[in-house]
């Protein structure tokens, strides 16, 4: 345990050193993280205004609140591992990782958490500025704020497990971008990234309930906006716990099978 803490601390320093090297690309990446929800925010505000001030249960100010919180939730749970795995296998980096006496997922978790922590202050400032500028309405109950913290953490872990597992497709497929593309489209529609899920047709909502995406993004956002009842929150936490379990089991199975394939064909 102590060794793992030390590994995480060291990875944090390394990530910081690396991020210092990529200041410009980091800035551009952050602009991207802000721009996407901002575009949806502006579109939905316009729609809402032209529809007389609200769409469904969302007022113009609710939309502002929704997309500002979404920006933070997305920033917190985002991973880039799916873009990296193919490269790692092709460049032989995975071989070096497999020769180390530590599971490679630890480096990825530590790297991810480190860079999140480092960009968090800036993202918070941007979120506050946007909330003020668009007069966002965010009015959660006290309990919802408390529950939001474990929910956000669960959202991150579930997304990390699923995307890490999906990234392992690179063991079998040389070009994984098609899989990534499909995943991101599903994520965009079924997580609530493009619009609050309650505004989508009923069958789509059912589908969203059954898949993990909603529990990663839409659920934490709605919780913090004060749109959920305690029962909804419990159901959401249950769904997150279920997906965490599924993700964990899948990761173990796929990792085992993948490393077996890797050690059969080499790299």
């Amino acid at each position: 345990m102590k060794a793992l803490v030390e590994l995480y601390a060291q990875q944090f320093k390394t990530t910081m050193a690396a991020m210092f090297q990529y200041r410009a690309s980091l800035l551009i990446w952050m602009i991207g993280q802000v721009l996407e929800p901002l575009v949806y925010l502006i579109v939905w505000s316009a729609v809402s205004n032209s529809a007389g001030g609200s769409v469904g249960s969302y007022t113009t100010r609710d939309f502002a609140g929704y997309f500002v919180v979404l920006m933070l939730v997305n920033q917190f749970s985002y991973t880039w591992i799916m873009y990296e795995f193919e490269y790692r296998i092709r460049e032989g980096l995975l071989s070096f990782a497999l020769l180390k006496p530590v599971h490679p997922i630890h480096s990825d978790i530590a790297d991810n958490v480190s860079s999140k922590l480092l960009t968090l202050p800036a993202m918070l400032l941007i979120a506050i500025a946007l909330a003020v500028a668009f007069q966002a309405s965010i009015s959660p109950q006290h309990w919802a704020v408390l529950v939001f913290i474990p929910v956000l953490l669960m959202a991150f872990i579930v997304r990390f497990l699923l995307e890490w597992t999906l990234a392992l497709a690179a063991f079998w497929i040389t070009r994984v971008s098609a899989i990534n593309q499909t995943y991101f489209v599903l994520m965009l529609f079924l997580s609530g990234q493009i619009a609050p899920l309650t505004l989508l047709p009923y069958p789509v909502q059912i589908l969203a309930d059954l898949l993990p995406f909603r529990w990663i993004i839409g659920f934490p956002v709605e919780l913090l906006l004060g749109k959920l009842s305690p029962v909804d929150a419990l159901i959401g936490l249950g769904a997150q716990a279920a997906w965490l379990l599924i993700g964990f089991v899948l990761l173990r199975i796929v990792w085992k099978a993948g490393t077996k394939v890797y050690s059969a064909v080499g790299a």
């Binding site: 060291q10 090297q21 032989g92 980096l93 020769l99 080499g266």
Partner: protein
Amino acid sequence: MGIPNTPAVHIKGLRKVYVVSQQESGARAVLQGLVRRRTIEVPAVDGISFDLAPGEIVGFLGPNGAGKTTTLKMLAGLLHPTAGEVKVLGYIPWKRDKTFLRQITLVMGQRNQLIWDIPAIHSFELNRAIYRIPSGIYRSTLGELTELLELEPLLNKPVRNLSLGERMKCEIAAGLLHRPGMVFLDEPTIGLDVTMQRRIRSFIAEYNHRFGATVLLTSHYMADVEALCRRVVVIHHGKLLFDGDLSSLVQKFTDHKTIVVQLGDCQADLTEYGEVVSCVDGLVTLRVPRSETAQVTERLLADLPVIDLLVEDPPIEEVIERVFAQEKP
């Protein structure tokens, strides 16, 4: 490091067969390939056996595609053998037991493990945490490696700004910080200039001497092998061609010796003594059958105004070339 007298590496009847998909040309073949891929089996390593004693430095030779890297990867636990026995330091490598991984290293001259955009010292520190090296031992090992490889000016420069040789020195240091008792080196001097090659060579000898580590080394530079390895293992087409002293390799695969005679000029015709390989400024190089060496030397000294004469084995490159030219031993 294991029980004395047990080999550091033991392999017996080791095989690795790759299943490779075949792509044929022509529209029909391509369409068929979409449904069902034709595959063929390629044996990369085809039943080799040898043991390494603890503390030995052994040269592992063979032309490109002979199966050297595949063997090294099986020994390091990256590849699962198709058949045969493998044990390294008493462990079965492909199980990748953590205590096993802490005792080995694989340095590949053509692959990098250092983080590209930041100074090497960060990668070193990360390895310290990964291998759980106690800080006292880490400091002294880093100190020693820094001194032996002259790393001081390189440690704080981003890796991408290092020259190939500088980077290789850092790669080697990163691979040895945890003081592995088993070291696999795959072409550690590839692409380096002669001075850097020599430096890395003497470092490997020093590391082996200081830590009693077992070293298995592949290289295309015979100078590496001559300087470091008394014993060599030669493979070709995945099969073992030779395992023994470097000197007996020369004896086994060459039936010739080279006689270098210094004469006044190149006027004399020496073809009756042996095959004239070259003559530069009166320095004649002759190839003669091993069994006739003594007799030819005697005749040369009696018949010609010889200033100097030298009998030697042919250069190791030439021997290796001959070995590789053979299909089977």
